[in-house]
Symmetry: C2
Amino acid sequence: MLLSALLTSVGINLGLCLLYITLYSILRKQPGNITVYAPRLIAEHKGERRRQFNLESLLPSAGWLRQAWQPTEGELLSLFGLDAVVFMRIFIFSMRVFSFAVIVGIGILLPINYLGTQLSDDSDLANTSLDTFSISNVNDGSNWLWVHFSAAYIFSGVVCYLLYYEYSYISDKIISCFYSCKPLPHDFTVLVRGISTSSGHTVSEDVESFFTECYPSTYLSHSVVRRTSKLQSLRSDAEKLYRKLAHLKSNRDARRRFTREGPLGLFGRQVDLADHYEKKLVDLEERVRIQQSLLAGQEVPAAFVSFKSRFVAASTLHIQQRINPTKWVTEQAPEPQDIHWAFFSTSFFRRWICNLAVVAACIAITILFLIPVVIVQGLTNLDQLETYFPFLKGLLELTFISEVITGYLPSLILQQFLSLIPPVMVVLSSMQGYIAFSQIQKSACIKVLWFTIWNVFFANVLSGSALYRVSLLLDPKNIPMVLAEAVPGQASFFIAYVVTSGWTSLISSELFRLCPLIFHFLAKVFARENDEEFKVPQIPYHKEIPKIIFFGVLGTTYFFLAPLILPFLLIYYCMGYIVFRNQLLNVYVTKYETSGRFWPIVHNSTIFSLVLMHIIAIGIFGLKNLPLASGLMVPLPVLTLLFNQYCQKRFLPLFKAYPAECLIKKDRENQNDPTIGEFYNKLATAYEDPAMKPTQHSLSTDSRSTPLLQGAESENLA
Amino acid sequence: MLLSALLTSVGINLGLCLLYITLYSILRKQPGNITVYAPRLIAEHKGERRRQFNLESLLPSAGWLRQAWQPTEGELLSLFGLDAVVFMRIFIFSMRVFSFAVIVGIGILLPINYLGTQLSDDSDLANTSLDTFSISNVNDGSNWLWVHFSAAYIFSGVVCYLLYYEYSYISDKIISCFYSCKPLPHDFTVLVRGISTSSGHTVSEDVESFFTECYPSTYLSHSVVRRTSKLQSLRSDAEKLYRKLAHLKSNRDARRRFTREGPLGLFGRQVDLADHYEKKLVDLEERVRIQQSLLAGQEVPAAFVSFKSRFVAASTLHIQQRINPTKWVTEQAPEPQDIHWAFFSTSFFRRWICNLAVVAACIAITILFLIPVVIVQGLTNLDQLETYFPFLKGLLELTFISEVITGYLPSLILQQFLSLIPPVMVVLSSMQGYIAFSQIQKSACIKVLWFTIWNVFFANVLSGSALYRVSLLLDPKNIPMVLAEAVPGQASFFIAYVVTSGWTSLISSELFRLCPLIFHFLAKVFARENDEEFKVPQIPYHKEIPKIIFFGVLGTTYFFLAPLILPFLLIYYCMGYIVFRNQLLNVYVTKYETSGRFWPIVHNSTIFSLVLMHIIAIGIFGLKNLPLASGLMVPLPVLTLLFNQYCQKRFLPLFKAYPAECLIKKDRENQNDPTIGEFYNKLATAYEDPAMKPTQHSLSTDSRSTPLLQGAESENLA
């Protein structure tokens, strides 16, 4: 790629970004778009849904930037919880890393690369190939390469220092959050799975007798899990019907309340829709009640067991309860609103098999993903299209159409396939037997990350079949050389990738929320009921974190190969920092918390990218006839991995469980708390399946705040 | 190797074994040898040290065989503890495996191999090469190979079933042992290392305040560790001197009590030795007391903390105590007599570095072991010897001498180097920061096992430099082919190895105890003091288990390649079973227990040998032009590894910690036990360093049962 081409691409994307930002600053002020741009505020009843129109709202403004900038980290923590803070720390960490990288890369390495003559390209600056700025241009065996060598060592040191600092900073935050929070149900509760009952006893009886015997002074209560997926679908039907009814009743336009009985509502006797719905609702609720009474007996061999003390709950987690370690398996209970009630696989053996199958499926999807994509893309081949659909022949002969099909369609297909991956990974993760949405999200995050690294980084770097890339892994000796030959050549591709997939897609899809905006617009035009419930989104960590991390992997890998990528990355992180702060304030809500457990993923992938950089460095210095540098590079990955192991030992335990010291201190505090009795009462019912709570729509259809709705709301928003 | 050569070798070794057995059955009846052949009985005061001579004792007899056969497993358990039972289970397991293997291998596979014509060797049976009995003789592409294929599948299934059965059998034993044992100090105690003290407090104060605050109702006591290696050496000097003195005083021969003051006791004034020793002893004890008072202040930041409940002790083990997981690290306390007081590294960081260094050192020793051996063996080259030591020239020209040097010396050197390995591994393991002899032994056992597999199996199979073998590991694709080409050729070597290193060395060194016998004889001849203390040995698990397992690895690997090895192995295991039962009854004592924790090593190495067999099978079927069988073999190692993972999940947790159910049940039992108060009193002082206990030799030199000796005895034998 030539420098001029890069500048054109950057210019176009910069223009697009500015356009989107301007549009955003105008559209966000329009009252009709508030459900798109500030759903969080509506949920908190801060946003006014209908505002008066005025001319000022049509002018672009930068007030949102100031608003997004203002909150301190403490405020973010109290408003959005630890996960959001950790999410923002990824940007802060990356900005620090790449500020340093830009100084070293652009200030020192880039001039050295440019002054090399290996590629002997002496034309003017605009026509310079981008490779001139990469390490490929430094002459073989040149002593200037020792600067790159030192830069790799220093950069690794700085990144490791920053990693250590972040890990320890977030650890401190976890502890202080734990100390400052009020009693939370999930700290006092464990989930016991795979309960084997003695003959003649129900699960509930066995759980009760075991825990009262073993923990007589601290056992509080338990609730046995029931399989309620059918009941849940019935209830959600009832709820929808109830909403329709409520909307109908509140509607002043009486005409709409009547329809005809016949097909399509066109023929037959005229009926009152409200009466019709009410009858249906009564019927549905009767079925819900029958299901509930049926399910009361259908126990799943799993139960949430609550204790009066955090410490005892934690110790039951850590000690194997029964002689057979595959029975009565305890695990940390998630927050009540975080439970994924639908999937509740309980048998240890089945979960183990599911886990293995999912891991195998993930590996298969990751490795073989490009094969179906390439086949589908092959279908867009013009000749094939003409064979399959002869009637298109005339159309396909138009230059414009054929250009779109051959030039744009393949990349569109790839994008569509790629956007399928996060949901697919979520489905796979949920099959692994996790019981919390947050656990599923975390597991999906890891899967999406490795998928991205394999199918974006390695697929572009190592052109060739998927099997060729796998076979490389089976030949570890040659990895450095193969990577060193392939990676530098793709620098310009990845610069363009950062600009398009980073900048523009961040602004258009995250800030401007293009898809929700279009849906909102379509709903307005086509749907009659504008007041329909809308969902306040939660940050899709499993989609966003892998993207952000992947740019970090690119930056670290290319740091000393092609430093030209670094400023673009730094700009991306700065934009991301401000955009996501804005979206946190306006768009997203925190439904559940993982207490910062996403950070280890960031840490590990940064270590991975450092080691990848070192491996490439070993290969590069070998190729550049500097075997000494190549050999001296070998200790660096070893040291990095040792550093990683130390960090795992020093910090990771805190991301898995709280230490006894903290638990006992909090327990003691609570003993003197007069409100703890009330909390225990709530705790006893906190882990009941919401589907098993009584319904009473039809009895109180005139009031909006029925118990069921409250339950549903607390389920969604708490 | 020809069949006749094998038969000769078997005959010679069989003869040697019978000779040793006959000699053993005679010598064990001689009163003078009782310290060699029945030290356990002496320690238990069952053996009579002086018996009347009679003629019958000069005749060989097989009474010991009957005695060794008699005890049931329950008796073994109550007499020698769980470790000894697990050790004997290795033999039982191996006998079962190889009984089945012999039936299939000799009954089915051997005739098929022999009827093949690939090696086209049609001479008479005695001159047949052993390769005729191996899979190499089956014709390429022959359908008979499917029998081998099925045998591999069936054998793997049977071994896995037996492994599962053994794991579950030993698990049950562990639980029933735990239920039946009386309260043991180490169940109530944890070791806390890396204690960080707050300023102005001693370790003892901080431990006391932390545990009384966190576990007010169950905390019992603690004892801080002190660095006592210097004190220990002083005490052992004092003890030796005291014994000399006691011996001297009890000696009726008064002449010996006097010696002269001058050099070598030949010149100068005559003195009473007893007086002289007594003065020295008083002096030494004064120094011991000074050291003790000095050390009372020198605390190591580690302490044994005892609780009133097993369950609380176990839960402190599992939960991280402090916010910093590298401080106040808890681990299971070993039995008091099992503690390796000398090495007490406490800093988490230092232990981590030591661990890494030891692992690196082990890998280096294992991989590079043969290099120094080969160099030293090179020195036995006759020409070189003549160059270095010209005066030997005449001697070396004698045929006999030169034959011994070239033929026997290299293998002797290799044996000497090999026999150094277990002690070296013990030293390395003790540097890893383990605090118990049993942990060191277990860790050394694993190290010796891998060393043996690498340096006996792979070094013989893959001739070539160590680096060549390592480079193979870096090229995983080719491993099956390389192994399939190399392994079958070494079958005859390993048959000879089983016969010499298995049969003869088992009988000569284990049953006949050749080395202790020689030492005993030399001591009798040269040392004046015959009544000197003798040590009752403990089974050197770290030496024996790797040997036994290694034969299993050989048998499994060669099961379908060269089934001729199997009967020899079966005989080895039968002999080992009876010999070790005999030695347990007569020779060894149990000083400390690991509660069966050696079994997972046996399990894992059996799985390893199965997978090794499968990999070789994949290669062999490929070489034999049966690619379908080669491909169908691939699921077998995968299934085996899955089986292994399941076993780890199902059984391994019990080998690490007892479940809450058992702990709470035992705790409850003890609450009603009237003697528990007394046990708590003992527990409070159980973990005091024996070196810190008061000494009082000089005050009571006339009585043998001084407190120090009692302490030392309980340390050695309890």
